[in-house]
Structures are given as structure tokens and as C-alpha cells.
Point group: C2
């Protein structure tokens, strides 16, 4: 990699910077969440002292408190001092600048927590406002104000309304428009009637909110706003509405663990929420239902088929969906698995359903992606022969719903067994047929 200037690296100061903790470690609310997470981990059949889980309670508590820090923020503090005098037109007829010139900020990436099920959801936010009184707001404040409300337990419509009202009250413009394009992870085995195959793994909804001149959704100004955020042709009416969270339409749970339910209620309280607020009453049970999909079974999958060395063709099964739960942060990661192997013409190719079962078996646990990849490869190899290659591509919620907030990033992991390990052309042939990543993107 050529000559390397290490001077930056060695010059690092002794006092490392606090990365995202923001001093919430040790606070009573944080400790209460940590205790609650320990209850949940035990309820999932996990050993809370195993290495991967030891710090999970603290990680979860920090992520949740940081992800809901909007409860402690004031819009006034953000807007104050960022309203700038800005002239309108001097002598002409029309609207421009600080008197009527529509301002639009597009494609703000946010995430929020779903109040129905406590899972994070992603938001693409677009805001417009019409300045009045010869003043405009600093553009970045539109983003900061949105964050205040996104960093709470929300549903899409309320989030849009709260952003809209806060901007209207604090900027006092002629009007404010907010549209949100929200993506929520599917629940496993979600009713297929609502399942859109084009958005595998994600439930989507579009919501909008308007005040002042944007109160009438049929007005020209709305049309112009939508035109400039390029929603041309998208019909808001067709969008899934109130019941967008898949936890609400899935089958009711039966008996549920009251200690775990209590722990989740404690978490809600510690975040500053009221677990008796109407929208939150069933949240603990819904979150628990999600969580129990990942209960530790203490079973391992052993499949055995008599198969000898196979000199056949490269076979593959691509885009097998999976759901899993990151054991470091108790947050979903979700994506697809690609499996390549060599099969002889004499042996029937293995059914897709068996491979999908293997993927689900190892997905529905507290996991890390590296382990998932290895376990699938080993199990497939145990009955399909030595020559197996597995690629797992995933979106990790923990990469966006904590301090780092890396929207759009994704992770790939690879396991190579047998011939794939030594023969680079086999690997290349398999990698070549992996489709583009779009099938897992939110």
C-alpha cells in the first residue's frame, strides 16, 4: 500500500472522546433498562454471561436512550437564533425570498422507533415551507427539528404532524408541508396479502401533513411541492395507512411471559414514556412476540445425506430471505442468503425449501452475521458435500439506530468450503451470479 504517513495516528491524544455515550452510563434510567434487558435475555433462554451478551444490556440501554433523546429536546432552543432577516421582492408582483418564496429541503434521512412494536423504522423526510415576515430559517434547522420528533416512539402520521406543527409554531411562516416515506421491517410470517414482493422485507408507507397554505391537500402549492420532491405520479391514497406496523395485523399472541412484559414496560417508563398511553398499551406484548421469534432453542441442526465427491456443475440458490436479531444490540438484521454448491447430475438437486429452512433455523436466534454464515455453510455442507460457498448480505438496524447512523450501508459475509476454498474460478463463477443488492434494500 505504499509509503504510509503514520504521524496522524501516533499523535492521537490520550483523552479519548466519548463516542455516543453522552454520559448516560450509570444513570438510574439506564440501569433500569439494563436490568430489564437482562430479564429479556434470560427469557430468551440465553446465558447473560456469555461473552457476546455480557455488554448487551448496556449497549441496548444506550442505543434506546440515545435513539429517544428527542423527549429531552426543545424546538425553541434549535430555532432560536437561526431565523434570519431576508427580503422579499422589491417592487415586482410575486413571491420570492423571505416573502413567499417556497423553500424545500429534500431527502433527509431519519430513523424513529415504532410505538406499536418498539422496532426502529427508517424515514425519508421532505419539508417545505413558505417564508413570511421577511425572515427565513437556517436550512439545517429543518433537519434538527425533524430529529427532535423522530427520536421518540412514533407512528408515521404523528411524526409528520409533530414536525409540521413545531415548524409552524416556531417559524410562523405562511405554511409548512411535510412528507415522510417510511420503511418498517416485516415481521416474519407476516400475512402475505399485504406483502409487496417488490419490497421484500419492508413495509412502506407515505404520509403527509400540512399547515397554513398547505392545509388543503388539493391545493396547487401541494402539487408544486410534490412535483419538486419528485413524487410525480405516486398516489398517496394507495399508501398503507394506520395499520402499517406488521405487529398490528399479525395473529394475536397467546400466553405471554409476564416478567418479560413487565421488563418491556419498565423500558418504556425509563425512556420517559407512559406505558398506559393508548398507543403503547399493547406494545410490550407486540415487541415480545417479535423477540420470541429469536428464542434460543439449544438445538443444533444435523442433516446427513450419503454423498460422495461430486464433480458436477455449479448449482446455486440465491436470495433466500432471512430475519435475525443482533445479539450485541437486540436489534434486527435482515437480508438474503446465497448458497452455491457442486451437484452431480446423478443426485437430485436439493429442494429450495430445505435450504430456506436451514437459513431460518440459524436466522431465528440472537446472532452475529459471521456466525450465521458459518453455520449455514457447515450445515449445508453436511449433506451436500464438501464444496459449498455461502454469501450473506444484510442490513443491520444497529448501523443506523445508534450514534453512527449510517443510512444505506450494508454488510456481506462469506464462507468458502472445500473446492471453493482452493479454486478461485469457482468462487468467481459464484460471485458473478449474485444479483445486485436491490432485493434487500429498504
Amino acid at each position: 500500500m505504499g509509503a504510509l504517513d503514520e504521524c496522524h495516528y501516533s499523535e492521537e491524544l490520550e483523552n479519548g472522546v466519548d463516542l455516543g455515550g453522552c454520559g448516560i452510563e450509570g444513570e438510574p434510567e439506564t440501569l433500569a433498562i439494563e436490568d430489564a434487558v437482562r430479564v429479556l435475555l434470560q427469557g430468551l433462554g440465553e446465558d447473560i454471561n456469555r461473552e457476546g451478551l455480557r455488554k448487551t444490556p448496556l449497549r441496548v440501554a444506550k442505543a434506546l436512550r440515545e435513539g429517544t433523546r428527542g423527549y429531552k429536546q426543545k424546538v425553541k432552543d434549535i430555532v432560536g437564533g437561526a431565523l434570519f432577516p431576508e427580503a422579499g421582492l422589491e417592487s415586482k408582483v410575486g413571491s420570492a425570498g423571505g416573502a413567499g418564496g417556497l423553500v424545500i429541503v429534500r431527502d433527509l434521512d431519519l430513523f424513529s422507533y415504532c410505538e406499536s412494536c418498539l422496532l426502529p423504522f427508517q424515514v425519508k423526510c421532505h419539508i417545505g415551507y413558505v417564508p413570511s415576515g421577511q425572515r427565513v430559517i437556517g436550512l439545517s434547522k429543518l433537519s434538527r427539528v425533524s430529529e427532535v420528533f423522530a427520536k421518540r416512539l412514533q407512528n408515521p402520521q404523528r411524526l409528520a404532524n409533530e414536525i409540521c406543527v413545531a415548524l409552524q409554531n416556531n417559524i410562523k411562516p405562511t405554511g409548512v408541508a411535510v412528507t415522510l416515506h417510511c420503511s418498517h421491517i416485516h415481521f416474519p410470517f407476516f400475512e402475505p396479502t399485504l406483502f409487496n414482493p417488490n419490497h421484500q422485507g419492508w413495509v412502506k408507507t407515505l404520509v403527509k401533513s400540512g399547515s397554513g397554505v398547505f392545509e388543503d391537500e388539493k391545493s396547487d402549492i401541494w402539487t408544486e411541492f410534490l412535483s419538486l420532491i419528485r413524487f410525480r405520479g405516486i398516489n398517496f391514497e394507495n399508501s398503507v395507512d394506520k395499520s402499517w406496523c406488521p405487529s398490528q395485523t399479525s395473529i394475536k399472541t397467546g400466553a405471554s411471559d409476564s416478567e418479560m412484559i413487565g421488563a418491556i414496560s419498565t423500558i418504556l417508563c425509563s425512556l420517559g414514556e407512559d406505558p398506559l398511553r393508548e398507543e403503547l398499551i399493547e406494545t410490550p406484548a407486540r415487541f415480545l412476540k417479535w423477540l420470541m421469534s429469536f428464542k434460543n432453542s439449544n438445538l443444533d441442526l444435523k442433516l446427513k445425506r450419503d454423498c460422495l465427491t461430486i464433480n458436477g456443475d455449479l448449482s446455486s440458490e440465491m436470495n433466500l430471505p432471512f430475519w435475525s436479531q443482533c445479539e450485541h444490540h437486540l436489534l434486527p438484521f435482515q437480508g438474503v442468503v446465497h448458497i452455491g454448491y457442486y451437484s452431480s447430475n446423478k443426485v437430485n438437486p436439493v429442494g429450495k425449501s430445505i435450504l430456506q429452512s436451514i437459513v431460518h433455523f440459524y436466522g431465528f436466534k440472537l446472532q452475529v452475521q459471521e456466525r450465521l454464515t458459518r453455520q449455514i455453510a457447515e450445515t449445508v455442507s453436511s449433506f451436500l458435500g464438501e464444496d459449498v460457498m455461502v454469501v450473506v448480505e444484510a442490513n443491520h438496524t444497529c448501523m443506523l439506530s445508534r450514534g453512527i447512523e449510517k443510512f444505506g450501508s450494508s454488510t456481506a459475509t462469506i464462507a468458502v468450503l472445500g473446492r471453493f476454498c482452493t479454486d478461485s474460478s469457482s468462487r468467481a463463477n459464484f460471485l458473478q451470479i449474485i444479483p445486485n443488492f436491490s432485493s434487500i434494500e429498504g
Copy 2:
């Protein structure tokens, strides 16, 4: 907008959260940068007491110090505690999990500051590593370690190398690969030979760095890594290399203001850099050259043409590029202007070059986008008649190189004069012909 639950909003606590300041306000380094920025503003011919600029020194100081906070961060503090035991294959031949299973994190959005010219540049970062010793690193740490080095004055190749070496030294894996896809704003009037019309406004470069098994760039493992980050077919060799920063290839400046040069050197010192470091010696002069493009001329543009009421067709000039400098943060914003007007067949349509001159005249100032839009509309109207509509679409560096870091967001502002103000179908017709936003995207 329907019933609104305001309870969240009114429940906000009294103690607002510090938003991005992180307590650096009032520190000697911050104050030194503020003083330096005042010198620069005065050198630009600005009144440092006018409302829009009053807090600019503090804003610039905070943005710069926050944007270079990597100087104070230690990789060890980040990696420590996030290395997890993870088994490799049990009995099979091959590589998987914590023993050889390639892990890739793709599409991490970063920004950094160019050490050649002090302007921010955007980075799409892809990292791969091959675990060894039966341990893996928490995925988010790859992002956090990258941030440590991105938040310094950099060039793309050194940034890639530093991320690579830091990960190699701290994780001690079998190898690390880093590729960066970097976008740097063009300087105005940059030599057209290097100007790629497909990336209007942006200079791009691809760099890579590898250690361990990734040291050989021709190796299969590099090919596989690149295949999974979908750089298939992209030739790294063709990428613009060392001289990617347009400040280095542009014509040498003549005399320059020594007080302003001194102020920029002070800023470099206050960030923890050595202005005598080889790569930084000419940086103050280069940044000054950029800055002086936006010197206040105290002139206003008056164009007059005899034109009566025009009942002709909608004429338009789309995608006129502009450069400007945000007066709140002394950071670039850059994009395109679309101008619509009604012209009669009897009057010759106005030349594109005149409209482009108007756009540049108002762009090359300390500006805000709302004002730029109004000024262009008013000036165009003064010689093209009453009926003018202007849309400005822009990327604001201040939306990504400070606390909020909203990658991919963009801003649109609109001014409507005369017939466009009253006739919604005129507005709709004009909005309809605005091309997709791709022409300004980085």
C-alpha cells in the same frame, strides 16, 4: 391535518440538549478560529456586524472543530471491548466465521476536509477484512474507526491508508481492504480538460488500500472484495490520482492578502495541525483563492431592455450551474438554476450566456439560497418582463459537514413573478420540464 396530539411537544423538558456544540464554545482554539474568520470576512469586503454574519465566526469555528475531531480520538478506545470470540469451521476445510470468513461493510458515508484547499469532500467507504484468531470486530466499529481518520484534514489515499493500518494494527486480522469513492467540489473555472461533463460540479476519485492478504492488488481476494462491492468493471487505474483537488491544477494566484493568509494558518494551528507540514504549506493560499471568488463587489446588476407585455410561449433555460458560499457557515453550496419566462416571437430570445452571467454574478458572493433565487428572478425580470419563474436546486455542504451530516439531502427554492404568481398552470408547465435532480448530485 387532522387531530393532533401535542402532548409530546408540550412535554419537552426545560433543559435543552446541547446540539453539536459539545462544549467547545469559549475554548481558546475556538476563539482563535472566530477571530481568524472575522479577518477573512473583512477581507471579503463584508460587514461582520450584519445580521446574517454576526454568528458566522462561531458557526465556522464549531463546524471546523467538530469536523476535525478525529485528531482527539483514539482507535484503541473504539476497538477495545468490541472484539468478540467467534468460532471458525469445526471440521471442514475452508474459511468461515472468526477464521477466514471475509466480512465486508459497504457504503459508509463519510465526509472529510481536503488538506489541499480546506474544503470538505464526500466519501463512500467500503471496508473488508478477513478475521483470524477466532475473533471478529463489532460491525459498527469499522464505521467509527473510519470516522476517526475522516475527521481530519486529508487526501483520499492517505485516508484509505490510515483506516487500513489502524484496523490492521488494532484487530490484527489476516488482512484489511479499504476502498474510497471520493467527490470533491469543482473550483469555478476549473480547466475544462479535466472536467468530466458527467459529473458536473464534482471531481471524483477512487482509491484503495490493502494490508495482509490484501497487499497484492492483483490477488483473487481483492477481486472478490471488489465483486461484492459492485465495482465490477470499474478501472481503478483510470481514476484521477494525486492531483485530484482542483486547487492544485488551477492557475497560481498572484498577490494575496497576507493578513488573510495568516488567519487561515491560525485556523490550521487551532485544529491541531502543523501549517508547515509539506502538504499544508500552500493550503492557506489555495483556500484563499477559493474564498476570493466570493468577494463582495458592492455592485448590483441592472439590466434594462425595452419590453412590453409578452403573450408568447413559455421559454426556459434549464440547468445553469452555479457556485456559491453559504454566509452562515462559509461553506460551498452548489447546484443548478432553472429559469422560465414568457417570450414573444417578435422579441429575440435572450442568450443563455446572459442568463448564466446573471447566475454567476449572484452566485459568487456570500449568500443564502433564498436570496440568490430572488435576486436572479428580479434581475431576469428587469429585462425579460414581468413573468419570470426561477427554481434553484442545490447541495449544501453545511448539511453534511457539521453535526447533522445529512448525506444526499438537497434544497430547492422558488421565486414566482407576474403571471407565474397567479396562473397555476404556468407554474405547473414550468415545473414539469425540470429535469431530474441527477445533474447536481455528487
